[in-house]
């Protein structure tokens, strides 16, 4: 087989392990990290109705990665279908085993590797974030340099590549969407960044509606369209915080708002209105118009797919045709609407509630 190195020509030649070798070395490295950090800290979750266990080598990364998943904590831990072993270099004195990259020699962009459908990895060089999945084994690894190197957006929606890869082979399709609802069911809010998804979703939560996510969630369509919550977090531009005084207590990074979006962990303030999932009754395409009134108009499934699929699939490593097909199935199953947001944000929850009652 012809071989082509992934490293830049200036990088020193290093003998690299083969894929399965590397999986073994990741196991060994995590075990060593846990020993040095005082043991394994275990958190069990139910995500997309699958039992998932996060195993942290010591406590350092727990407050950085676990809060966004807190609403999905398993009431009764079950044998995990997916186990994610997590460590950082600083608190465990354990780096990542030499792989196809290292911090010094990494290409400036992300590097993705796929060994068929079995082994997948992605490395983001700065800050260094390594995600690795051995799919048939149900084993994944996440490594970074230190707790402080976890960016706020990773805390808000942690472990995305691993969840995307694994869930896609277990009946759950990642979706770039917010999800809110009432007792009548849920609405998926879709569109590219800046379309108004987060603000609309938080306005709905603030108005007393149910909330299943503001940016990423999981979809299943086999037993009717259903949105499974993934993260209980929300993100807002700091200048939009004033619109939601009731949510200020949920802000996790109040000391860094000069440089970061406000990151809110909403389960802490909204309790059981942050739900594990909702049956999808409508797809809504918000659009910030700033006019006098908020208007709702039907749109085609194709328009909804155009709003949902590119922003879901293009940023994700190793997106498949199957992902596009799954999102298309969803858009065919429920009515789709455009929501033209007026100046009065309070009208949006009312409009969505009305839609859900009618759908």
């Amino acid at each position: 087989m012809a071989q082509q190195t992934l490293r830049r020509p200036s990088a020193p030649a290093v003998r690299r392990p083969a894929a399965l070798d590397w999986a073994d070395r990741m196991h060994a490295a995590f075990a060593g990290a846990a020993d040095r950090a005082g043991g394994v800290v275990i958190h069990d979750f139910t995500i997309g109705r699958h039992p998932v266990q996060l195993r942290f080598a010591g406590p350092a990364l727990v407050p950085r990665l676990a809060p966004a998943l807190s609403h999905l904590a398993a009431r009764v831990p079950a044998t995990p279908a997916l186990t994610i072993s997590i460590w950082d270099a600083d608190s465990t004195a354990t780096s990542v085993p030499p792989g196809p990259w290292n911090e010094e020699g990494a290409d400036p962009g992300q590097t993705h590797l796929c060994a068929g459908e079995r082994l997948r990895a992605v490395f983001y060089p700065e800050p260094p974030l390594l995600s690795f999945l051995d799919e048939p084994a149900g084993q994944a690894f996440f490594w970074t340099r230190s707790a402080d190197s976890i960016p706020f957006y990773e805390s808000g929606s942690p472990l995305r590549p691993i969840f995307n890869w694994w869930m896609s082979t277990h009946g759950r399709q990642f979706a770039h969407a917010a999800a809110v609802g009432t007792a009548a069911g849920g609405a998926l809010l879709v569109g590219r960044g800046g379309a108004g998804k987060s603000t609309t979703a938080l306005a709905c939560l603030d108005a007393g509606m149910l909330y299943a996510g503001d940016d990423h969630c999981l979809i299943s369509t086999d037993n009717g369209p259903f949105v499974h919550s993934l993260y209980s977090s929300g993100k807002l531009n700091p200048d939009s915080l004033a619109r939601f005084p009731g949510l200020r207590a949920a802000v996790a990074n109040a000391d860094r708002l000069a440089t970061e979006k406000a990151l809110l962990f909403l389960a802490a303030v909204a309790g059981d209105r942050v739900v594990e999932g909702l049956p999808v009754r409508a797809i809504v395409l918000p659009e910030v118009c700033g006019g006098l009134g908020t208007e709702v108009a039907p749109v085609s499934p194709a328009a909804a797919l155009l709003a949902l699929a590119p922003s879901t699939l293009l940023p994700l490593p190793k997106s498949h045709a199957a992902g596009l097909k799954a999102l298309a199935v969803l858009t065919r199953q429920v009515p789709c609407y455009r929501l033209r947001l007026g100046a009065d944000l309070a009208e949006a929850p009312r409009a969505i509630s009305d839609l859900l009652t009618r759908s």
């Binding site: 087989m1 012809a2 071989q3 082509q4 190195t5 992934l6 690299r16 392990p17 083969a18 894929a19 399965l20 590397w22 792989g99 196809p100 290409d107 400036p108 962009g109 992300q110 590097t111 993705h112 590797l113 796929c114 060994a115 068929g116 079995r118 082994l119 590219r192 085609s300 499934p301 194709a302 797919l305 155009l306 699929a309 590119p310 922003s311 699939l313 293009l314 940023p315 490593p317 190793k318 997106s319 498949h320 045709a321 992902g323 596009l324 097909k325 298309a328 858009t331 065919r332």
Partner: protein
């Protein structure tokens, strides 16, 4: 028109879905996405069956009212656009790309041919707003023994 021996197929890096008479096309490598409607949707459907230009024209003639010359010109223009955007690739029968069975004779058009609609030149709508979010490195396909070495070009999956 392109030579009859030249057939077209969807580029292996492309995923597409037809919904409600509209095709949504994603170029996963370039971070661009596209849509086609009406005759464009029918042309895309023919391309997914490894049609040549003449067969695509036949498929559109069966569904739309228009002169053959007008439709031939529109198809030629569309094939050029799709090729430039790297959404389709041309191949000759017998080449590796011909793994999918080529269309024999006329390509069946989607839907009923009972009522022909007035022909409108297909427009490829291109959206580039996601390009900034494009993964900066391509995905490197490897086999388990070869990681971290990239799968060689001659083992890339065929369309």
């Amino acid at each position: 028109m392109t030579p009859p021996s030249e057939r077209f197929t969807v580029h292996p890096k492309i995923v597409s879905e037809t919904i409600d008479g509209e095709v949504i096309i994603l170029n996963l490598d370039r971070g661009r996405y596209y849509s086609l409607t009406l005759a464009g949707t029918d042309a895309w459907s023919a391309i997914t069956r490894a049609a040549n230009a003449e067969e695509i024209v036949d498929a559109l003639m069966a569904r739309y009212e228009g002169s053959r010359t007008q439709i031939e010109q529109a198809v030629g223009h569309l094939l050029g656009e799709l090729s430039r955007e790297e959404l389709i690739v041309a191949f000759a029968p017998g080449s590796a790309e011909a793994a999918a069975p080529p269309a024999n004779g006329s390509v069946p058009a989607a839907g009923s041919t009972a009522v022909r609609r007035p022909f409108e030149t297909p427009v490829l709508r291109a959206y580039t707003d996601m390009e900034d979010l494009l993964l900066l490195d391509p995905i490197h396909e490897v086999d388990e023994s070869g990681w971290p070495n990239r799968l060689s070009e001659d083992r890339q999956p065929l369309p």
